[in-house]
Symmetry: C2
Subunit: 229 residues, 2 copies
Amino acid sequence: MRRASDDLVAEIEGRIASGQFEHNKPLPAERDLMDTFGASRTVVREAISTLANRGLLESKPRFRPVVKKPDYGTVLTATGNIIEHLLGEPGGVSDLYKSREFIERSLARHAALHANKDDIADLKAALAANYEALDDTPRFFQTDMDFHGVLYEIVRNPIFPAIHKGYLSWLSPSWGKMNRSEDHNLINYQAHKKIYDAILERDPTQAEDALSEHLAVAWEVVKDTLENN
Amino acid sequence: MRRASDDLVAEIEGRIASGQFEHNKPLPAERDLMDTFGASRTVVREAISTLANRGLLESKPRFRPVVKKPDYGTVLTATGNIIEHLLGEPGGVSDLYKSREFIERSLARHAALHANKDDIADLKAALAANYEALDDTPRFFQTDMDFHGVLYEIVRNPIFPAIHKGYLSWLSPSWGKMNRSEDHNLINYQAHKKIYDAILERDPTQAEDALSEHLAVAWEVVKDTLENN
DNA sequence: CCTATGTTTTTGGTCGGACCAAAATACTCT
DNA sequence: AGAGTATTTTGGTCCGACCAAAAACATAGG
Protein backbone atom coordinates (compact mmCIF):
# COMPACT_ATOMS: atom_id res chain seq x y z
CA MET A 1 0.00 0.00 0.00
CA ARG A 2 1.18 3.49 -0.68
CA ARG A 3 0.55 6.76 1.01
CA ALA A 4 -1.02 9.62 -0.85
CA SER A 5 1.97 11.78 0.01
CA ASP A 6 4.29 9.32 -1.74
CA ASP A 7 2.66 10.14 -5.04
CA LEU A 8 3.09 13.82 -4.37
CA VAL A 9 6.70 13.30 -3.41
CA ALA A 10 7.34 11.52 -6.69
CA GLU A 11 5.46 14.20 -8.59
CA ILE A 12 7.49 17.02 -7.05
CA GLU A 13 10.75 15.11 -7.39
CA GLY A 14 9.97 14.83 -11.05
CA ARG A 15 9.29 18.51 -11.43
CA ILE A 16 12.53 19.31 -9.67
CA ALA A 17 14.48 16.95 -11.89
CA SER A 18 12.81 18.36 -15.00
CA GLY A 19 13.52 21.90 -13.90
CA GLN A 20 9.87 22.84 -13.67
CA PHE A 21 10.62 23.71 -10.07
CA GLU A 22 13.87 25.59 -10.43
CA HIS A 23 16.98 25.12 -8.38
CA ASN A 24 17.31 27.66 -5.55
CA LYS A 25 13.85 29.03 -6.16
CA PRO A 26 11.12 28.79 -3.55
CA LEU A 27 8.47 26.16 -3.90
CA PRO A 28 4.92 27.40 -4.52
CA ALA A 29 2.84 28.04 -1.43
CA GLU A 30 1.32 25.02 0.26
CA ARG A 31 -2.18 26.12 -0.58
CA ASP A 32 -1.25 26.46 -4.23
CA LEU A 33 0.22 22.99 -4.24
CA MET A 34 -3.02 21.64 -2.75
CA ASP A 35 -4.78 23.23 -5.64
CA THR A 36 -2.32 22.10 -8.29
CA PHE A 37 -2.24 18.49 -7.18
CA GLY A 38 -5.69 18.21 -5.69
CA ALA A 39 -4.34 17.08 -2.36
CA SER A 40 -5.16 18.08 1.17
CA ARG A 41 -2.81 20.29 3.09
CA THR A 42 -1.91 17.39 5.35
CA VAL A 43 -0.62 15.44 2.39
CA VAL A 44 1.15 18.44 0.90
CA ARG A 45 2.92 19.21 4.14
CA GLU A 46 3.91 15.61 4.60
CA ALA A 47 5.38 15.51 1.13
CA ILE A 48 7.30 18.72 1.77
CA SER A 49 8.63 17.35 5.02
CA THR A 50 9.79 14.17 3.32
CA LEU A 51 11.48 16.04 0.51
CA ALA A 52 13.15 18.36 2.98
CA ASN A 53 14.55 15.38 4.87
CA ARG A 54 15.71 13.87 1.61
CA GLY A 55 17.60 17.08 0.93
CA LEU A 56 15.65 18.12 -2.15
CA LEU A 57 14.13 21.04 -0.33
CA GLU A 58 15.74 23.33 2.18
CA SER A 59 13.10 24.40 4.60
CA LYS A 60 13.56 27.01 7.27
CA PRO A 61 10.52 27.41 9.50
CA ARG A 62 8.22 30.19 8.39
CA PHE A 63 9.93 30.47 5.01
CA ARG A 64 9.08 29.00 1.69
CA PRO A 65 11.04 25.80 1.15
CA VAL A 66 13.78 26.32 -1.41
CA VAL A 67 14.30 23.80 -4.18
CA LYS A 68 17.70 22.13 -4.17
CA LYS A 69 18.80 19.92 -7.00
CA PRO A 70 20.82 17.24 -5.22
CA ASP A 71 24.57 16.82 -5.53
CA TYR A 72 27.01 14.68 -3.61
CA GLY A 73 27.18 17.35 -0.95
CA THR A 74 23.47 16.94 -0.38
CA VAL A 75 24.02 13.29 0.40
CA LEU A 76 26.45 14.19 3.12
CA THR A 77 24.28 16.75 4.86
CA ALA A 78 21.32 14.41 4.68
CA THR A 79 23.29 11.75 6.51
CA GLY A 80 24.72 14.14 9.05
CA ASN A 81 22.20 13.39 11.75
CA ILE A 82 22.61 9.64 11.66
CA ILE A 83 26.37 9.88 11.59
CA GLU A 84 26.26 12.01 14.70
CA HIS A 85 24.39 9.25 16.46
CA LEU A 86 27.00 6.73 15.43
CA LEU A 87 29.81 8.98 16.58
CA GLY A 88 28.26 8.92 20.01
CA GLU A 89 28.68 5.16 20.19
CA PRO A 90 31.93 3.72 21.53
CA GLY A 91 34.49 3.45 18.78
CA GLY A 92 32.40 5.60 16.48
CA VAL A 93 34.84 8.44 16.09
CA SER A 94 37.69 5.98 15.83
CA ASP A 95 36.06 3.99 13.04
CA LEU A 96 35.33 7.12 11.08
CA TYR A 97 38.80 8.47 11.60
CA LYS A 98 40.39 5.19 10.58
CA SER A 99 38.32 5.10 7.44
CA ARG A 100 39.55 8.58 6.63
CA GLU A 101 43.10 7.46 7.17
CA PHE A 102 42.56 4.54 4.83
CA ILE A 103 41.08 6.70 2.11
CA GLU A 104 43.66 9.44 2.35
CA ARG A 105 46.53 6.95 2.31
CA SER A 106 45.16 5.68 -0.95
CA LEU A 107 44.68 9.20 -2.22
CA ALA A 108 48.28 10.04 -1.42
CA ARG A 109 49.47 6.96 -3.26
CA HIS A 110 47.27 7.86 -6.18
CA ALA A 111 48.59 11.40 -6.20
CA ALA A 112 52.17 10.19 -6.23
CA LEU A 113 51.41 8.03 -9.22
CA HIS A 114 49.07 10.21 -11.20
CA ALA A 115 49.23 13.86 -10.17
CA ASN A 116 49.79 16.15 -13.12
CA LYS A 117 51.54 19.52 -13.28
CA ASP A 118 48.45 21.42 -12.18
CA ASP A 119 47.84 19.11 -9.27
CA ILE A 120 51.39 19.55 -8.10
CA ALA A 121 51.02 23.30 -8.42
CA ASP A 122 47.85 23.18 -6.33
CA LEU A 123 49.58 21.14 -3.68
CA LYS A 124 52.50 23.51 -3.67
CA ALA A 125 50.21 26.49 -3.27
CA ALA A 126 48.31 24.79 -0.47
CA LEU A 127 51.56 23.99 1.25
CA ALA A 128 52.73 27.58 0.91
CA ALA A 129 49.49 28.89 2.38
CA ASN A 130 50.04 26.40 5.13
CA TYR A 131 53.46 27.82 5.82
CA GLU A 132 52.22 31.39 5.81
CA ALA A 133 49.69 30.56 8.50
CA LEU A 134 52.06 28.87 10.91
CA ASP A 135 51.63 31.57 13.52
CA ASP A 136 47.91 32.02 13.02
CA THR A 137 46.34 28.89 14.41
CA PRO A 138 42.76 29.35 13.17
CA ARG A 139 44.00 30.15 9.70
CA PHE A 140 46.44 27.28 9.88
CA PHE A 141 43.55 24.97 10.61
CA GLN A 142 41.84 26.19 7.46
CA THR A 143 44.90 25.79 5.27
CA ASP A 144 45.47 22.38 6.82
CA MET A 145 42.06 21.22 5.67
CA ASP A 146 42.64 22.79 2.28
CA PHE A 147 45.87 20.90 1.82
CA HIS A 148 44.14 17.61 2.46
CA GLY A 149 41.34 18.77 0.22
CA VAL A 150 43.67 18.99 -2.76
CA LEU A 151 44.35 15.28 -2.41
CA TYR A 152 40.63 14.60 -2.75
CA GLU A 153 40.53 16.69 -5.90
CA ILE A 154 43.26 14.83 -7.70
CA VAL A 155 41.21 11.72 -8.41
CA ARG A 156 38.88 13.92 -10.44
CA ASN A 157 35.74 12.29 -9.15
CA PRO A 158 33.14 14.57 -7.56
CA ILE A 159 32.39 11.96 -4.94
CA PHE A 160 35.71 12.42 -3.20
CA PRO A 161 35.57 16.13 -2.44
CA ALA A 162 32.14 15.45 -1.00
CA ILE A 163 33.62 12.76 1.22
CA HIS A 164 36.24 15.21 2.34
CA LYS A 165 33.61 17.72 3.32
CA GLY A 166 31.83 14.98 5.17
CA TYR A 167 34.89 14.03 7.18
CA LEU A 168 35.48 17.64 8.04
CA SER A 169 31.98 18.31 9.25
CA TRP A 170 31.72 15.05 11.18
CA LEU A 171 35.14 14.97 12.72
CA SER A 172 35.69 18.64 13.41
CA PRO A 173 33.53 18.58 16.55
CA SER A 174 36.02 16.18 18.12
CA TRP A 175 38.82 17.94 16.38
CA GLY A 176 37.77 21.29 17.71
CA LYS A 177 38.35 20.23 21.28
CA MET A 178 41.92 19.36 20.45
CA ASN A 179 44.75 21.34 21.91
CA ARG A 180 46.30 23.46 19.27
CA SER A 181 49.45 25.48 19.30
CA GLU A 182 52.10 26.83 17.01
CA ASP A 183 54.19 23.81 17.89
CA HIS A 184 51.49 21.54 16.57
CA ASN A 185 51.18 23.69 13.49
CA LEU A 186 54.84 23.24 12.75
CA ILE A 187 54.63 19.47 13.18
CA ASN A 188 51.67 19.32 10.86
CA TYR A 189 53.30 21.56 8.31
CA GLN A 190 56.37 19.39 8.26
CA ALA A 191 54.21 16.34 7.78
CA HIS A 192 52.47 18.02 4.88
CA LYS A 193 55.78 18.91 3.36
CA LYS A 194 56.90 15.32 3.64
CA ILE A 195 53.78 14.19 1.82
CA TYR A 196 54.23 16.82 -0.82
CA ASP A 197 57.86 15.89 -1.35
CA ALA A 198 57.01 12.24 -1.73
CA ILE A 199 54.36 13.04 -4.33
CA LEU A 200 56.80 15.30 -6.12
CA GLU A 201 59.33 12.49 -6.21
CA ARG A 202 56.68 10.12 -7.49
CA ASP A 203 57.21 7.79 -4.56
CA PRO A 204 53.79 6.28 -3.78
CA THR A 205 54.90 4.25 -0.80
CA GLN A 206 56.65 7.18 0.77
CA ALA A 207 53.60 9.35 0.20
CA GLU A 208 51.34 6.76 1.70
CA ASP A 209 53.53 6.27 4.73
CA ALA A 210 53.99 9.97 5.30
CA LEU A 211 50.29 10.57 5.22
CA SER A 212 49.61 7.59 7.39
CA GLU A 213 52.03 8.75 10.02
CA HIS A 214 50.72 12.29 9.84
CA LEU A 215 47.19 11.20 10.61
CA ALA A 216 48.30 8.67 13.18
CA VAL A 217 50.13 11.35 15.14
CA ALA A 218 47.13 13.63 14.94
CA TRP A 219 44.92 10.78 16.07
CA GLU A 220 46.91 10.31 19.26
CA VAL A 221 46.26 13.92 20.13
CA VAL A 222 42.57 13.69 19.28
CA LYS A 223 42.20 10.43 21.19
CA ASP A 224 43.68 11.90 24.34
CA THR A 225 41.38 14.87 24.04
CA LEU A 226 38.36 12.60 23.62
CA GLU A 227 39.25 10.50 26.62
CA ASN A 228 39.67 13.54 28.82
CA ASN A 229 36.27 14.94 27.95
CA MET B 1 13.05 29.68 15.46
CA ARG B 2 12.30 26.05 16.04
CA ARG B 3 9.36 23.88 15.24
CA ALA B 4 7.45 22.10 17.94
CA SER B 5 8.10 18.80 16.21
CA ASP B 6 11.85 19.38 16.47
CA ASP B 7 11.62 19.14 20.23
CA LEU B 8 9.66 15.94 19.93
CA VAL B 9 12.17 14.54 17.47
CA ALA B 10 14.99 15.26 19.90
CA GLU B 11 12.99 13.77 22.75
CA ILE B 12 12.29 10.54 20.89
CA GLU B 13 15.84 10.34 19.56
CA GLY B 14 16.99 10.52 23.14
CA ARG B 15 14.67 7.74 24.25
CA ILE B 16 15.85 5.56 21.40
CA ALA B 17 19.48 6.19 22.26
CA SER B 18 18.82 5.51 25.94
CA GLY B 19 16.98 2.32 25.12
CA GLN B 20 13.72 3.53 26.59
CA PHE B 21 12.27 2.89 23.16
CA GLU B 22 13.78 -0.47 22.35
CA HIS B 23 15.42 -1.49 19.11
CA ASN B 24 13.12 -3.41 16.78
CA LYS B 25 10.11 -2.78 18.97
CA PRO B 26 7.15 -0.76 17.75
CA LEU B 27 6.77 2.81 18.84
CA PRO B 28 3.77 3.58 21.06
CA ALA B 29 0.61 4.58 19.25
CA GLU B 30 0.39 8.12 17.99
CA ARG B 31 -2.40 8.96 20.39
CA ASP B 32 -0.34 7.71 23.30
CA LEU B 33 2.59 9.81 22.22
CA MET B 34 0.32 12.86 22.08
CA ASP B 35 -0.59 12.11 25.63
CA THR B 36 2.94 11.38 26.82
CA PHE B 37 4.47 14.47 25.31
CA GLY B 38 1.48 16.77 25.42
CA ALA B 39 1.66 17.42 21.71
CA SER B 40 -0.97 17.49 19.02
CA ARG B 41 -1.26 14.64 16.61
CA THR B 42 -0.02 16.87 13.82
CA VAL B 43 3.23 17.43 15.65
CA VAL B 44 3.55 13.79 16.63
CA ARG B 45 3.06 12.63 13.08
CA GLU B 46 5.51 15.18 11.78
CA ALA B 47 8.10 14.00 14.25
CA ILE B 48 7.51 10.38 13.28
CA SER B 49 7.84 11.25 9.63
CA THR B 50 11.12 13.06 10.25
CA LEU B 51 12.54 10.21 12.29
CA ALA B 52 11.47 7.72 9.68
CA ASN B 53 13.27 9.69 6.99
CA ARG B 54 16.32 9.90 9.23
CA GLY B 55 16.25 6.11 9.46
CA LEU B 56 15.59 5.89 13.18
CA LEU B 57 12.15 4.51 12.57
CA GLU B 58 11.03 2.10 9.94
CA SER B 59 7.51 2.94 9.01
CA LYS B 60 5.32 0.89 6.75
CA PRO B 61 1.94 2.46 6.09
CA ARG B 62 -0.75 1.19 8.42
CA PHE B 63 1.79 -0.39 10.77
CA ARG B 64 3.33 0.88 13.92
CA PRO B 65 6.72 2.42 13.18
CA VAL B 66 9.51 0.17 14.37
CA VAL B 67 12.41 1.62 16.32
CA LYS B 68 15.78 1.19 14.65
CA LYS B 69 18.96 2.06 16.43
CA PRO B 70 21.10 3.41 13.62
CA ASP B 71 24.15 1.65 12.23
CA TYR B 72 26.24 2.34 9.17
CA GLY B 73 23.78 0.41 7.08
CA THR B 74 21.08 2.86 8.09
CA VAL B 75 23.14 5.67 6.64
CA LEU B 76 23.24 3.96 3.30
CA THR B 77 19.53 3.29 3.03
CA ALA B 78 18.77 6.83 4.13
CA THR B 79 20.86 8.19 1.29
CA GLY B 80 19.52 5.77 -1.28
CA ASN B 81 16.97 8.13 -2.72
CA ILE B 82 19.35 10.98 -3.30
CA ILE B 83 21.95 8.71 -4.81
CA GLU B 84 19.38 7.44 -7.25
CA HIS B 85 18.81 10.99 -8.41
CA LEU B 86 22.51 11.47 -8.93
CA LEU B 87 22.81 8.24 -10.85
CA GLY B 88 20.28 9.60 -13.28
CA GLU B 89 22.57 12.50 -14.13
CA PRO B 90 25.13 12.06 -16.90
CA GLY B 91 28.28 10.49 -15.54
CA GLY B 92 26.56 9.54 -12.33
CA VAL B 93 26.92 5.80 -12.62
CA SER B 94 30.43 6.22 -13.94
CA ASP B 95 31.54 8.37 -11.02
CA LEU B 96 30.12 5.94 -8.53
CA TYR B 97 31.65 2.97 -10.28
CA LYS B 98 35.03 4.64 -10.49
CA SER B 99 34.93 5.43 -6.81
CA ARG B 100 34.24 1.79 -6.12
CA GLU B 101 37.17 0.82 -8.27
CA PHE B 102 39.39 3.19 -6.34
CA ILE B 103 38.28 1.88 -2.98
CA GLU B 104 38.53 -1.77 -3.92
CA ARG B 105 41.96 -1.34 -5.43
CA SER B 106 43.07 0.03 -2.10
CA LEU B 107 41.32 -2.77 -0.28
CA ALA B 108 43.09 -5.35 -2.41
CA ARG B 109 46.42 -3.73 -1.67
CA HIS B 110 45.59 -3.64 2.00
CA ALA B 111 44.58 -7.28 1.95
CA ALA B 112 47.83 -8.30 0.30
CA LEU B 113 49.75 -6.50 3.00
CA HIS B 114 47.70 -7.24 6.08
CA ALA B 115 45.34 -10.18 5.57
CA ASN B 116 45.73 -12.78 8.30
CA LYS B 117 45.18 -16.52 8.16
CA ASP B 118 41.45 -16.23 8.73
CA ASP B 119 41.07 -13.60 6.07
CA ILE B 120 42.89 -15.78 3.58
CA ALA B 121 40.67 -18.69 4.54
CA ASP B 122 37.59 -16.56 3.99
CA LEU B 123 38.84 -15.48 0.60
CA LYS B 124 39.62 -19.05 -0.32
CA ALA B 125 36.16 -20.18 0.71
CA ALA B 126 34.56 -17.35 -1.24
CA LEU B 127 36.61 -18.27 -4.28
CA ALA B 128 35.60 -21.91 -3.97
CA ALA B 129 31.92 -20.99 -3.72
CA ASN B 130 32.54 -18.87 -6.78
CA TYR B 131 33.92 -21.83 -8.64
CA GLU B 132 31.07 -24.08 -7.61
CA ALA B 133 28.56 -21.65 -9.05
CA LEU B 134 30.18 -21.26 -12.46
CA ASP B 135 27.27 -22.90 -14.23
CA ASP B 136 24.57 -21.26 -12.14
CA THR B 137 24.59 -17.63 -13.17
CA PRO B 138 22.29 -16.17 -10.50
CA ARG B 139 24.20 -17.98 -7.80
CA PHE B 140 27.47 -16.95 -9.38
CA PHE B 141 26.35 -13.36 -9.13
CA GLN B 142 25.78 -13.82 -5.42
CA THR B 143 29.14 -15.49 -4.80
CA ASP B 144 30.76 -12.81 -6.90
CA MET B 145 29.45 -10.13 -4.60
CA ASP B 146 30.43 -12.18 -1.57
CA PHE B 147 33.99 -12.49 -2.79
CA HIS B 148 34.29 -8.75 -3.10
CA GLY B 149 32.58 -8.44 0.26
CA VAL B 150 35.39 -10.31 1.97
CA LEU B 151 37.80 -7.60 0.87
CA TYR B 152 35.65 -5.03 2.64
CA GLU B 153 35.75 -7.12 5.80
CA ILE B 154 39.50 -7.35 5.99
CA VAL B 155 40.05 -3.76 7.05
CA ARG B 156 38.02 -4.55 10.18
CA ASN B 157 36.13 -1.30 10.13
CA PRO B 158 32.32 -1.52 10.11
CA ILE B 159 32.12 1.39 7.73
CA PHE B 160 33.52 -0.58 4.82
CA PRO B 161 31.04 -3.46 4.70
CA ALA B 162 28.35 -0.79 4.78
CA ILE B 163 29.96 0.90 1.81
CA HIS B 164 30.02 -2.41 0.01
CA LYS B 165 26.31 -2.89 0.59
CA GLY B 166 25.78 0.62 -0.68
CA TYR B 167 27.64 -0.03 -3.90
CA LEU B 168 25.70 -3.22 -4.45
CA SER B 169 22.31 -1.65 -3.95
CA TRP B 170 23.10 1.41 -6.02
CA LEU B 171 24.96 -0.19 -8.85
CA SER B 172 23.01 -3.42 -9.21
CA PRO B 173 20.16 -1.75 -11.11
CA SER B 174 22.63 -0.93 -13.89
CA TRP B 175 24.42 -4.17 -13.28
CA GLY B 176 21.24 -6.18 -13.53
CA LYS B 177 20.72 -5.17 -17.14
CA MET B 178 24.12 -6.52 -18.03
CA ASN B 179 24.47 -9.54 -20.23
CA ARG B 180 25.49 -12.50 -18.22
CA SER B 181 26.62 -15.90 -19.30
CA GLU B 182 28.77 -18.79 -18.20
CA ASP B 183 31.55 -17.34 -20.30
CA HIS B 184 31.43 -14.16 -18.30
CA ASN B 185 31.32 -16.16 -15.10
CA LEU B 186 34.52 -17.90 -16.05
CA ILE B 187 36.26 -14.66 -16.87
CA ASN B 188 35.21 -13.20 -13.56
CA TYR B 189 36.20 -16.29 -11.67
CA GLN B 190 39.65 -16.22 -13.20
CA ALA B 191 39.97 -12.56 -12.29
CA HIS B 192 39.01 -13.36 -8.72
CA LYS B 193 41.55 -16.14 -8.63
CA LYS B 194 44.22 -13.78 -9.85
CA ILE B 195 43.38 -11.36 -7.06
CA TYR B 196 43.37 -14.14 -4.52
CA ASP B 197 46.71 -15.47 -5.70
CA ALA B 198 48.26 -12.04 -5.50
CA ILE B 199 47.02 -11.59 -1.96
CA LEU B 200 48.29 -15.03 -1.06
CA GLU B 201 51.68 -14.12 -2.42
CA ARG B 202 51.63 -10.88 -0.49
CA ASP B 203 52.05 -8.87 -3.65
CA PRO B 204 50.12 -5.64 -3.12
CA THR B 205 50.79 -4.16 -6.53
CA GLN B 206 49.76 -7.33 -8.28
CA ALA B 207 46.60 -7.52 -6.17
CA GLU B 208 45.78 -3.93 -6.94
CA ASP B 209 46.36 -4.33 -10.65
CA ALA B 210 44.40 -7.55 -10.84
CA LEU B 211 41.42 -6.01 -9.13
CA SER B 212 41.67 -2.88 -11.18
CA GLU B 213 41.66 -4.81 -14.40
CA HIS B 214 38.83 -7.00 -13.21
CA LEU B 215 36.57 -4.05 -12.56
CA ALA B 216 37.69 -2.25 -15.69
CA VAL B 217 36.68 -5.19 -17.83
CA ALA B 218 33.36 -5.43 -16.08
CA TRP B 219 32.87 -1.72 -16.55
CA GLU B 220 33.20 -1.99 -20.29
CA VAL B 221 30.35 -4.48 -20.30
CA VAL B 222 28.21 -2.36 -18.02
CA LYS B 223 28.93 0.78 -20.02
CA ASP B 224 27.86 -0.81 -23.26
CA THR B 225 24.69 -2.01 -21.61
CA LEU B 226 23.94 1.45 -20.28
CA GLU B 227 24.45 3.09 -23.63
CA ASN B 228 22.18 0.65 -25.37
CA ASN B 229 19.30 1.25 -22.95
C1' DC C 1 -6.76 -26.63 26.33
C1' DC C 2 -5.89 -25.13 21.85
C1' DT C 3 -7.11 -23.62 17.35
C1' DA C 4 -10.15 -21.34 14.11
C1' DT C 5 -13.49 -17.88 13.17
C1' DG C 6 -16.08 -13.81 13.85
C1' DT C 7 -16.67 -9.34 16.34
C1' DT C 8 -15.13 -5.09 18.58
C1' DT C 9 -11.60 -1.77 19.48
C1' DT C 10 -7.60 0.50 18.30
C1' DT C 11 -4.87 2.76 15.17
C1' DG C 12 -2.68 5.00 11.02
C1' DG C 13 -3.97 7.85 6.93
C1' DT C 14 -6.59 11.56 5.20
C1' DC C 15 -9.60 15.40 5.20
C1' DG C 16 -11.43 20.09 6.30
C1' DG C 17 -11.59 23.99 8.95
C1' DA C 18 -9.71 27.22 12.22
C1' DC C 19 -6.38 30.36 14.50
C1' DC C 20 -1.98 32.69 15.21
C1' DA C 21 2.11 35.09 14.29
C1' DA C 22 5.48 36.09 11.08
C1' DA C 23 6.53 37.16 6.35
C1' DA C 24 5.31 39.19 2.06
C1' DT C 25 2.86 42.59 -0.22
C1' DA C 26 0.15 46.70 -0.91
C1' DC C 27 -0.57 51.12 0.37
C1' DT C 28 -0.05 55.26 2.44
C1' DC C 29 2.14 59.78 3.67
C1' DT C 30 5.95 62.59 3.55
C1' DA D 1 11.10 57.87 -4.32
C1' DG D 2 11.68 56.28 0.26
C1' DA D 3 10.10 55.19 4.78
C1' DG D 4 6.69 53.69 7.54
C1' DT D 5 2.16 51.48 8.08
C1' DA D 6 -1.85 48.61 7.02
C1' DT D 7 -3.37 44.35 4.70
C1' DT D 8 -3.02 39.90 2.84
C1' DT D 9 -0.67 35.71 2.45
C1' DT D 10 1.54 31.94 4.34
C1' DG D 11 3.68 28.39 7.38
C1' DG D 12 3.00 26.16 11.99
C1' DT D 13 -0.18 24.22 15.11
C1' DC D 14 -4.41 22.47 16.89
C1' DC D 15 -8.93 20.15 16.76
C1' DG D 16 -12.35 16.93 15.46
C1' DA D 17 -13.99 13.64 12.25
C1' DC D 18 -14.13 9.57 9.18
C1' DC D 19 -12.45 5.36 6.98
C1' DA D 20 -10.27 1.12 6.35
C1' DA D 21 -6.92 -1.91 7.95
C1' DA D 22 -4.72 -4.03 11.87
C1' DA D 23 -4.79 -5.65 16.43
C1' DA D 24 -7.11 -7.37 20.28
C1' DC D 25 -10.73 -9.72 22.01
C1' DA D 26 -14.37 -13.04 22.32
C1' DT D 27 -16.59 -16.98 20.95
C1' DA D 28 -17.46 -21.49 18.92
C1' DG D 29 -15.67 -25.93 17.57
C1' DG D 30 -12.36 -29.64 17.91
